[in-house]
Every structure is written in C-alpha cells, then in structure tokens.
Amino acid sequence: MSAQSVHSPEPRTGILRRYIFSADHKVIGLQYFFLALVAVTIGTILSLLMRMHLVWPAAHLPFVAGGIMTPEQYLALVTMHGTIMVFFVLSTVPQAGFGNYFLPIQIGAPDMAFPRLNMLSFWLTLLAFLVLLAAFFVPGGAPISGWTAYPPLSGLGEVTGPGEGTGQLLWVAGVLIFCIASLLGSINFISTTIDMRASGMTLMRMPLTVWAWFVTAILSLLAFAVLFAGGILLVLDRVAETSFFLPAGLVVNGELQMRGGGSPLLWQHLFWFFGHPEVYIAILPGMGAVSHILANFSRKPVFGYRAMAFALCAIGFLGFLVWGHHMFVSGMNPYSGLTFSLLTVSIGVPSAVKTFNWLGTLWGGRIRLQSPMLFAIGFVSFFVTGGLSGIFLAQPAVDTELHATYYVVAHFHIVMGVAAIFGIFAATHYWFPKMFGRRMNETLAKLHFWITFPGVYCIFMPMHFIGIEGGVRRYADSTGANFLAALQPLHLFITIAAFITATAQLVFFYNFFRSLRKGEPATENPWDATTLEWATASPPPLDNFGGHFPSVYRGPYEYSVPGAAQDFTPQHLESEQTHAD
C-alpha cells in the first residue's frame, strides 16, 4: 500500500528520542499504559479513603488534610475518583493504550497513519492529567460536583461550595484538554484502520479487537466533540458571566445571581450525549479483546464473527440514542423518558448477542484456563451481571426508585468499571509477552485472579441491596437520615472486601514489574495464536515486521480447522498445510 512507503522509521537514537519523545505507536501505547497505571493507583487510593471514611467517619486518615475527612473533602474524592477512573483509566488503556500498540500490528501496518499527531495525543493526555490533579492543590481544593459536574453547582464559582472556584475550573480545563487528545487520537485510529491495512486484510478479516477499536474511535470522535462544546460553554458561564446553563432568579447562599435565560438541563443533555457513549468507549475495546482471547484459548473460531462485528456497530450506534436514561428524574419531558427507555432496553439485544456468542465460542472448545483466559471469562461474568442490573435502571418507573442510590453505583462499577478492568487485565496478560518479550508469572497471575474475581463481587453485589433499601450515593456519611444507619453493616463488609481486593492488586504490580526484568523469555507466538501481532518478533521491531509487510490470506480466528497441520492457522499463511514457524 502507498501509505506504508510514506513512513520511514526514525532511527533509534538516544533514550529520550526512543522512549520519551517517540512517535512510534508501540512506545506511545506503553506510555498511555503506564500513565493509566499511575492514574488507577491514585484513583484506587481515593476510593479506599472514601470507603474508610464511610465506615469509620471519625478515624484519622492518611493523605487527608486535617486528618478527619470533612464532607467537602469526601465529595472532592468522589469527583476526582470518578474523573480519574473514567477519563484516565477506562478511556485510556483499552483504547489509546492497547489500541495504539496493537491496531497497526494487527492490520499489518508499520505505524499509525499520523505518528506525530499520535505523540501529541499522548502528551496532551498527560497534560490533562496534571491539570486535573492540580485541582487538589489549589485553595478550596478539588471540585465537589462529581464527575458529572451539573450546573448551577459547577457553573457559578465558589459561591456554591468549596472547590467550586479554581478547583472546578481546573477540572473543566483538564477535561477539555483530554477531549482534544481523544479527538486527535480517534482521527488517527479511524484513518489507520481505513487506509493502512495490509493486502488481503479486508474488513471482514480484521480481528474483533480492530473492529472494537475502530468503532470506539468513531464513538470518541462524536462524543468527545460534544463534551468539548459543553465544556467550553461551562467555562464561559464561569469566567465570562454568560448564562448557557443558568436560569434567572438564582439565589445562592442569600446572594441573587445576575444571570438568566439558560437551562441546567442543557448541560445534562450535552454531558450525557457524551457520557453514555463513553460507557461504550470504555467497554467495547474490552469486548474486542475478550472475543479475541476466548477464541484463542478455546482453540475455536469466534462464534458468529459477523454477528459480533455487527453487534459492536449496533451497540455503538444505539449508544448515541440512549443518553436520556440518565435523566429520567431530571425534569425532562416524561414522554421522552419512555422513548429513551425503549431504546435503552433494545441495546440489550446486541449486548445479549455478544454474550451468547461468547458462550458459543466456549462451547465445544478445548479451553485452556491460562491467566488471560481467566480474566476474559471473568469479564463475561461481570458483563452479564452488570448488564442485567441495567435492565432495571432502563425503565423509568423502576429508576424513580433506584436512581442515585448505591444500586446505580453497583451497576456501573460492575459493567463499566470492573468488566473493562478485567478486559484490561486479560489483554495485559495476553499481550505482555509480545510487548516486553517476557512472560508474566502464571502462578502469581492466578493468585491475583482468584482474589480479585470473588473480591470484586463482594465489593459490588452488596451495593445493590444498599440501593434497594434506599442508600443514597455521594453521601459523605450516614447521619442525615435515620434509615441509613441500618445499612452500615453492609458498608463495613464492602470496605473490608475493598481492602482485600485492593491488596491483591499489589500481586499484579509485583508480577508485572518483576516479569519485565526476570520473566521467562517469550517466543514469537507463545499462545499458538493466529493474528498478525504473533507473526513478528516479541517485542516487534521498530517497523513492526522487520522490513517486510505481511499479506493476509484468511480470517482472523482459524483455530482447529479440520485437516490443518496444527490447531491454529495464522492469517499470513498462504496454504493451510504449511507450518507456522
């Protein structure tokens, strides 16, 4: 292809050029990965602080100014935990991290379409992260309005509460910079997928991971653009005294605000028009990776490959039509609530198709339960559990009971948080040998899995019950209403489970960093896999395939083909009978 000849690889000179200011998609992918590793550590510490405060409100906590947490500090943690996890972990590793590293290799390209734009995306993401974190260190602290930042709370400045001054402004600035980075990244992903595929790599021969990254890139392009617009309007409301989101007659803290003509619901529409596709931005790459891994470790083709690809597209498309289900009780017209409800339950259909096809992929296979497979199956279990609790929340009548309770916290953490994280774990264990040329330790990986998988269920399943009993989320303590006291034993159970599960993550970190240096050296294709990333060295050379570019002769998941010499037939093999090596 012409695009391939355009990029002459940069010479590998100097540590800085090679590992820091590199335009190589593999280095950038790893940079995203390590950035998210820092972000997820911070985000988890914030959540543990919140869990401790919820059950031991009078305890002296580390990292908390003054020792005992105040309500505004608690809400600042709520905001920052959500923002860091959603933007800098869930939108970063599955798409920008693994996507950057493996999309070009899996389609047989030497790099992304725009390597320097790619580099800019990463550095903007890092800048966004630093700007966001700076909110902790300004007077007033981090914002208290949650990751959803609903105006007027977020739109008027310090008058509405501590953290709503400079802290909230830095929050918006961080999110805006992140939007730009994501937009640039998505353009790159889309162009690369369309233009840079190797010869023979038709759309229907692309691995499902590539399909997922491609659809996610389109979602990012459309969703982050809207959040960017909304964020600009919010900044204008705050600094230029406009009134996009502010109606007339606001009296805050006894002060009449001279604004008028805006609508607080407008922000919610703009935010959730981004916010719902964002859920799919977090989970679709995980779905792709899980399909990929289930086929590999079942030694079977993906069941219903076409249906899987179409389901990804259908989920992506429907994902843009359901944002109103976050707003059933917002004051939006109740008739539109009904429409959004029906569209939302119909998104359950492609989601169910994916689940069935994952089961179909396992069925009749020869399942090797190595660490990537364990996490992939864990993903399916979480996706089922979290998806089904969504059916309750998708109905406006039931949502009026459960909205803004811990039921919702349970739902989105399982389906968007932990399922996506398990997708990341599966992908990390699966691609580690390719990325670093060494293997992770299986024993440690399994130990990590067997604490984390039950642990996560112990954290989030009880939250359903707290929600059903009326436990409201984002409460700094349980003293505001009498019925909340009865929920404390469940909270205590959750906090203990959270600590055990979080501690188990140290096993992952230990295994990861130890294996980087001391892991067993990996061969080119340690999992007997079929796709192109396994047709090159581990780790791949700078131009990915060492001077030649592969051609593709078959679909991505030809496992256990009858009559073939072995139970996997790589995509780049011309004849089925040839041996891979």
Binding site: G254, L256, F303, V345, P454
Partner: protein, 307 residues
C-alpha cells in the same frame, strides 16, 4: 496422541506417578506445563471456576429472592405499581442471570482442555436469529410493560380534588408552601428572599394572595387524597426522594416540576436529597407526615390561625 490418555489411566502405576498425575490435575497454578497428550491441566481451575459461579449464583438468587434486604413497604398505588414492575424485571433478569452464569460454568467445566480437539464451528445463523429475537421480545416487552407504572406517575393530570403543595429547595433545606384558605399561592420574587427576615421563599408582601400562605419545614398530607407537589429550586439542582413512595424527582432552578402521589398509609416518612447539591448534600432532610383526614383539617386550621 490425544487418545492415549484413556489407556494410560487404566494401567497400574506406582505411587509416584499417581502423585504426579494428581498434582498435574489438581494443582491450581501449574497449568502451563504441557503434558504428554498436550492438555494443559485445566481441570482444577475449571472446577474452581464452575464451583465459584454456582456458589455466586446461589447466594445472589437467595439474597434477592428471599428479600433479605427489602425496600420499605410501599405507601401508594404508584409505589405498588413500581414494585410490581421491579418484581417482573427481577424474574426476567434473574432467569437470564442464572442461565448465563451457569451456562458459563457449564461451558468452562465441560470443555476444559482434556486433550480433546475443539469443534470447528464458526456460527449458527438459526440459533443467532433465535436468541436475538427472544431477547428483543423479552427486553422490549418488559420496557413496554413498564410503561404503565411510569404513565401512572407522570402522564396523568391531577384530579380536581388534588391538594397542591409547593416544594422549594435550596442548599440544604426543603421548604413547603400551602396556599392557605384562599387556595391561591402568592407571587414570589427572588429579590425578597431573606431567610433571616423570615421570608425564605421571597413572598411578595404586596400580593394579597400570599398573605395566608403557610410556609413550613415539613410536609403534611392527608391519607388517601391525591397530592400534587410543585418542585422548585432556588440555587442548584436538588432532589425530592421518599423511599416508601418509590419517588425521586429533581428540583431544577428555573423550572416548576409537578409530581403526584396518593399516600394510603398513615405514618411519618423521611425525605432526602439524591442530587449532589454541595457540601451539605447528605444532611438535606425533611419529613413527610401522612395523617388522617381529621388530623389534616386541624393541621390546616392551626396554620390558618398561626400567623
């Protein structure tokens, strides 16, 4: 080679070989090493996986079905309708949950690597069409069925005997206003708002209709009478949530949002805020008192006589 395993199992082996075989098949962690027939010792993890999923499903089904952590009893017809829809959804989603998780457990156990060869199946159009249609019918049917509880709460306009009460929220207080004997709410003007001066709502002193308005910190309603609340907010977005009514509604500045209910059980219930509204969010609290018709009459008389 794949078939050699059955023979090997039947032959008598010395203890050491048995021990090796045992450790290969039941050791949790050493699953990477290939055995003679190429199987990767997946029995123990597969068993663990299946058992965990079965235990997880059993515990979850028990906790939901036995209502170990129940919602408080409903106190209105609307709340009872919500509960019915919740139960229906619980049945449908519960069945899907059990089938999918146990299906996963079954697949992992049954098709663990024992040296067999995987079946080359790339799909089954008839099956895929079937389950797509089944989920479509179940999910969308559930959504259609749930319409009723929602329509009952939000579409129907209030009957003529409904009592109108205005609910105003600000950081972090609920204020309830009754129209008084004249049945009319007085005009509000934000420039008159002054909590220290005893005018938290900004009642216009020049409007005669407002002179008999009763402004209270708790909500009192008669049993079995339709009530229409008019939700307003002065500063940021708040919410009005009563668990027993299964009712949440945001109060949005710049809007007046009606919600309706008919409480059918006398008692005192808690009102809390569920929309993050600032640092006092978790302390924003009031009470809903559902009283008998005669108690309501005397409540109204007290208010009329009061100021």
């Amino acid at each position: 080679m794949a078939r050699s395993r059955g023979c090997a199992r039947r032959t008598h082996r010395p203890n050491r070989a048995l021990a090796l075989e045992f450790s290969r098949r039941f050791c949790l962690y050493d699953c990477v090493s290939r055995t003679r027939n190429g199987a990767r010792g997946s029995a123990a993890p597969a068993l663990l996986f299946a058992l965990f999923l079965i235990l997880f499903v059993a515990v979850t089904v028990y906790l939901f079905a036995a209502r170990v952590y129940p919602a408080p009893p409903p106190i209105s017809r609307g709340a009872a309708l919500v509960d019915r829809q919740y139960n229906l959804t619980l049945c449908a989603a519960g069945a899907a949950f059990v089938l999918a998780q146990l299906g996963l457990a079954c697949a992992v156990w049954r098709f663990r690597d024992r040296g067999q060869s995987a079946r080359f199946i790339s799909g089954n159009v008839a099956l895929e069409v079937l389950w797509t249609c089944v989920t479509l019918v179940v999910f969308v049917g559930l959504g259609m069925f749930g319409r009723r509880a929602w329509a009952d709460a939000r579409f129907v306009s209030s009957p003529s005997n409904a009592i109108q009460i205005e609910v105003t929220t600000n950081q972090f207080v609920y204020t309830f206003r009754y129209p008084g004997p004249d049945g009319k709410f007085g005009r509000l003007d934000p420039s008159f708002i002054s909590a220290p001066a005893g005018n938290p709502l900004g009642l216009d002193p020049n409007d005669a209709a407002g002179r008999d308005d009763a402004v209270l910190a708790t909500l009192t309603v008669p049993v079995d009478r339709p009530v229409e609340l008019l939700l307003r907010s002065q500063d940021v977005i708040h919410n009005f949530f009563v668990r027993e009514l299964r009712l949440q509604q945001d109060a949005v500045p710049g809007m007046v949002i009606p919600v309706r209910f008919t409480a059918d059980r006398i008692g005192t219930y808690e009102i809390v805020c569920t929309q993050l509204c600032g640092l006092g969010h978790n302390k924003m609290h009031s009470l809903l008192k559902v009283v008998s018709p005669s108690d309501y009459e005397s409540f109204l008389q007290r208010q009329a006589a009061g100021p």
